[in-house]
């Protein structure tokens, strides 16, 4: 019975990075599959498939979620933001600029998810302490950097965003 259900198709509508989209999904389609396979937004990465590594973090209605844990049907009507939306204006987002300047990148696989967690933090808390930054990205595993340059970058970006406002 379950298998039959999984193969039933359904059309969902939502916005991603400001664009309205309609996508056909099955009951077992995950948000990450929709983004990567249907919409070709491959910036969002899969690292564990169980919501532990955070590489697939995107914002859903402003909140960071592990897109590998979100069933696609739940996305109906919601607002999704991915790393591809950050520089949609044609200019790098201050967070992206800060990651570049602080060498807060090594292999780069965790970077998109890390940026999205940081974005959610700075919208909620424009002046976070280092401790608050560390907590906000504690669901994003990075094996390369030891997190220091990432935390410094987020701190620097928060200052630059405040200055520009």
């Amino acid at each position: 019975m379950k298998k039959v259900k999984a193969e039933q198709k359904k059309l969902i509508s939502f916005t991603v990075n400001g664009d309205d989209v309609k996508v056909e999904i099955s009951a077992d389609t995950r948000l990450i599959d929709v983004l990567r396979n249907k919409l070709n937004l491959t910036g969002t990465k899969e690292g564990c498939g169980i919501g532990e590594c955070g590489a697939c973090t995107v914002l859903m209605d402003g909140k960071p979620v592990n897109s590998c844990l979100v069933p696609a049907f739940q996305v109906e009507g919601s607002v999704i933001e991915t790393v591809e939306g950050l520089d949609k204006s044609g200019e790098l987002h201050p967070l992206q600029e800060a990651f570049v300047e602080h060498t807060a990148i090594q292999c780069g696989y965790c970077t998109p998810g890390m940026l999205m967690s940081a974005l959610a933090l700075l919208r909620e808390n424009p002046k976070p302490t280092r401790e608050e930054i560390a907590r906000a990205i504690s669901g994003n595993l990075c094996r390369c950097t030891g997190y220091h340059q990432i935390i410094a970058a987020i701190e620097d970006a928060s200052a630059k965003i405040r200055l520009s406002e």
């Binding site: 990567r36 937004l41 491959t42 910036g43 969002t44 990465k45 899969e46 690292g47 564990c48 498939g49 169980i50 532990e52 590594c53 590489a55 991915t82 790393v83 591809e84 950050l86 520089d87 790098l92 992206q96 990651f99 570049v100 300047e101 602080h102 060498t103 990148i105 090594q106 292999c107 780069g108 696989y109 965790c110 970077t111 998109p112 940026l115 930054i133 560390a134 907590r135 990205i137 504690s138 669901g139 994003n140 595993l141 990075c142 094996r143 390369c144 950097t145 030891g146 997190y147 220091h148 340059q149 990432i150 935390i151």
Partner: protein, 774 residues
């Protein structure tokens, strides 16, 4: 200030923009028309005979295009970096849980998954060995023919006479230290896509491949074709740390076999669970050390016996354990040494290259031992080490005289210990006798490390610099970016040497059809070897351009400087040309503006019987000091602060060097207190990041990176190495700090809650890999 224009500056990474925008192409981001998906059926038992393999039902499932087994392999059945003993698909016998039995190739990954369940395999379980000491005991089951006693390899080292040395000693200590099985845990799991070529029998493989030339060799062998029929293109790498070598070669080979059989592109992406089950890991070691010293604190003799768990296949074990035998005494003058290191087969997950490569284990032992011995002698561990430390002209255990580079061991030890306030704090914390609540401690560890491959094997690398008519530059390298920053470092070296601007360079992804075989991107050899090759290539092209500039500026060749995108006359910098205009003119004159650079390592030597010789052409020195807090009620160790001093020769890019230090220290902390792959009778229990814990942003301590620069005579601009030394020191520094905090000497990694509180591990799953009796 630096006298360089591009080198020695903290320039932003050349691949930063593509990585912060999500545009960097990782293997799983690739899609090709008609692409199929491969999913692998793995062994059900770590050691079993395959009686029957029936794939018919799987083949009949709609959407399945093929089921690949050993019978489909046209060439070599097995691969391996040293010995070809790891089957791409097993035919008759499984040796560990990650072995591939068959692979379904289907229109979608979901269909392939469903088909896996339809494959019927009949097994007969075979007797197993999971413990190294059992494996080498008399009468033990023999796992591989041609390897009596389950010994993969044995490296002896003999210097002086240890019996005499122990007689001269006032104090002799014997200690056993053990280390655990750990996982690389790159965040991107292994992946490859093979695309059949237009010409018959050719194939291009894209992948998360640490060593494109190794992958090419293996794919060609498995297909039974010449090397030039296989083209390997490395995609952006989501981390490797030594881990995406032989395991990825096998995946590439499976994809290539399937692509040629079906005539369509085939992609294979491991799940995290498959990655942890299949991929090789860091060797667990059982290390017995006997050390003798005089009352005044001089080391006289060391006898070392090490068993390294190789698991099921040879993989890199002979090379990993070779580094161990060279460096097993640590960076200390010991006149009499007897070392025996053995690689040992078991039915555990096989072990291979991982950042450190045979050093983190022995450094845990020797640096714990140095503290224990100092304590017995009633000496300060710092003074004791300094009294025995390698200095200029010291002789190593293998008889190598250290006189071709600056021996900076004392310098790094002093810098790291001072930064942590070691001497004062150690005395103060040692007084603290509280057995309840939280107590603090400090500790440190030091090491020397041979740069590049040493006497392990052929050591040479190439690069290609090609200046275009508009002054922009292509840079190709045979050594590959793994995330560490190689593209940036190499581009800085090329820009410095050419005199162009950094932003004029485009670094091309490593492609085996373009660049000569440069060996593997391992052993922290990139900057020294590949960097020297880049410099060589750039120098050749610069000479051509300088010749043209000399003519146009009407000045002698040797009086022209190329720097920062300009070429000018030294005496009169106003007489100057843009780099791009020189390139344009050179093109107009029909000059060749491309060159292959090559660098071959200086000679090294090794006597297999005595373990004597010039093991490496140069060495780096490092010291990490840690301050920890131990919760006496729970056994929790919190690392508060780490000072890491590393002599890198010359920091080509101080920002990426610091990145290596932050990352290596953090990985070393995971090894010290958190990480362990649990195998229960060969079955992987920790299969994802909910059970296999790596440090998060909440776990990392304050880290003080201390870059020490003593330029080396071999590396480019004096640069040596940084990748691995950062990752080999923290575990013993923590163990020594824990002792200082609460008086508990823990000789088994990791120092998790149970081992610190109780002295042993509660989980029965452990202990079968020579790490615990419990």
């Amino acid at each position: 200030m630096s006298s360089f224009t591009v080198v020695n500056h903290p320039i932003s990474r050349i691949d930063a923009i593509e990585k912060v925008t999500g545009r960097a192409e990782f293997t799983d981001d690739l899609a090709f028309d008609g692409m199929l998906h491969g999913r692998v059926l793995r062994a059900k038992y770590p050691h079993a005979k395959i009686l029957e393999l029936d794939t018919r039902k799987a083949e009949e499932l709609p959407g399945v295009v093929a089921v690949i087994t050993y019978a489909d392999i046209p060439g070599a059945q097995a691969i391996g970096p040293v010995r070809p003993d790891m089957p791409v698909f097993v035919s008759t016998r499984t040796m560990y849980l990650g072995d591939a039995v068959a692979m379904v190739v289907a229109e979608t990954p979901e269909i392939a998954n469903r088909a896996l369940a339809l494959i019927r395999v009949e097994y007969e379980e075979l007797p197993t060995i999971f413990d190294v000491e059992e494996a080498v005991s008399e009468g033990a089951l023999q796992l591989h023919k041609d390897y009596p006693g389950n010994i993969v390899n044995h490296y002896p080292l003999r210097k002086g006479n240890v019996e005499e040395g122990f007689k001269e000693s006032d104090i002799v200590l014997e200690r056993t230290y053990t280390t655990q099985l750990i996982e690389h845990a790159y965040i991107e799991p292994e992946a490859a896509v093979a695309v059949p070529g237009a010409a018959d029998g050719t194939v291009t493989v894209y992948g998360s491949i640490q060593n494109p030339f190794t992958a090419r060799r293996h794919v060609a062998q498995v297909l039974g074709v010449s090397l030039n029929r296989v083209r390997i293109i490395q995609c952006a790498m989501g981390g490797s740390f030594g881990g995406k070598d032989d395991v990825v070669s096998a995946i590439c080979a499976r994809a290539a076999v399937a692509a040629l059989k079906t005539g369509r592109p085939v992609k294979i992406v491991n799940t995290r669970e498959e990655s942890i089950i299949e991929s090789y890991k860091r060797h667990p070691y059982v290390m017995k050390y006997k050390v003798g010293a005089t009352r005044c604190g001089k080391l006289r003799a060391m006898e070392i016996h090490i068993l390294a768990d190789a698991g099921s296949y040879v993989s890199m074990t002979p090379f990993v354990t070779w580094r161990s035998v060279v460096q097993a005494t640590g960076p200390y003058e010991v006149p009499n040494v007897k070392t025996d290191v053995y690689g040992v087969f078991t039915n555990n997950t096989y072990t291979g290259a991982m950042r450190g490569f045979g050093s983190p284990q022995i450094i845990f032992a020797q640096e714990s031992l140095m503290d224990e011995l100092a304590e017995e002698l009633g000496m300060d561990p710092l003074e004791f080490r300094l009294a025995n430390a390698f200095k200029q002209g010291s002789v190593t255990a293998s008889g190598q005289i250290l006189d071709e580079h600056t021996v900076s061991l004392v310098q790094v030890i002093e810098k790291a210990t001072e930064a942590i306030g070691y001497s004062e704090k150690r005395k103060a914390y040692a007084e603290n006798k509280a057995q309840k609540g939280k107590v603090r401690g400090v500790g440190f560890a030091a090491s020397y490390r041979g740069v590049s491959l040493g006497a392990e094997g052929v050591d040479a690398a190439g690069a290609l610099v090609s200046v275009q008519p508009d002054g922009s530059v292509y840079l190709h390298s045979g050594l590959a970016e793994n995330g560490q920053g190689l593209k940036t470092i190499f581009s800085q070296i090329a820009a410095e040497e050419l005199g162009c601007r950094f932003e004029d360079i485009v670094f091309m992804d490593t492609d085996t059809s373009v660049i000569p075989d440069s060996g593997a991107t391992v052993a922290s050899r990139s900057t020294t070897m590949g960097g020297s090759a880049v410099r060589d290539a750039a120098k050749k092209v610069r000479e051509v351009l300088l010749g043209v500039a000399a003519e146009l500026l009407n000045a002698p060749y040797e009086e022209i400087t190329a720097a920062g995108g300009k070429m000018y006359v030294n005496e009169d910098p106003a007489r100057c040309m843009e780099f791009k205009d020189v390139a344009k003119a050179a093109y107009g004159k029909g000059q060749l503006m491309a060159a292959i650079g090559w660098y071959q390592a200086p000679r090294v030597s090794w006597d297999e019987k005595t373990g004597q010789g010039k093991a490496y052409f140069t060495y780096v020195y490092g010291c990490q000091a840690a301050e920890v807090e131990v919760d006496c009620d729970t056994g929790q160790v919190k690392v508060l602060k780490v000072a890491a001093a590393h002599d890198v020769g010359r920091a080509i890019n101080p920002a990426t060097v610091e990145g290596q230090i932050y990352g290596g220290v953090t990985m070393g902390m995971g090894y010290g207190i958190l990480e362990e792959v649990e195998l229960q009778d060969g079955v992987t229990k920790t299969r994802n990041f909910d059970e296999y814990l790596i440090p998060t942003s909440m776990d990392v301590p304050e880290i003080v990176p201390i870059i020490v620069e003593n330029p080396d005579s071999y590396g480019p601009y004096g640069a040596k190495t940084i990748g691995e030394p950062t990752c080999e020191l923290l575990a013993p520094a923590i163990a020594n700090a824990v002792y200082n905090a609460c008086g508990k000497r823990i000789r088994r990694l990791p120092l998790d809650l149970e081992r610190v509180l109780l002295g042993y591990s509660l989980r029965a799953a452990r202990g079968k890999r020579g790490s615990d009796e419990a």
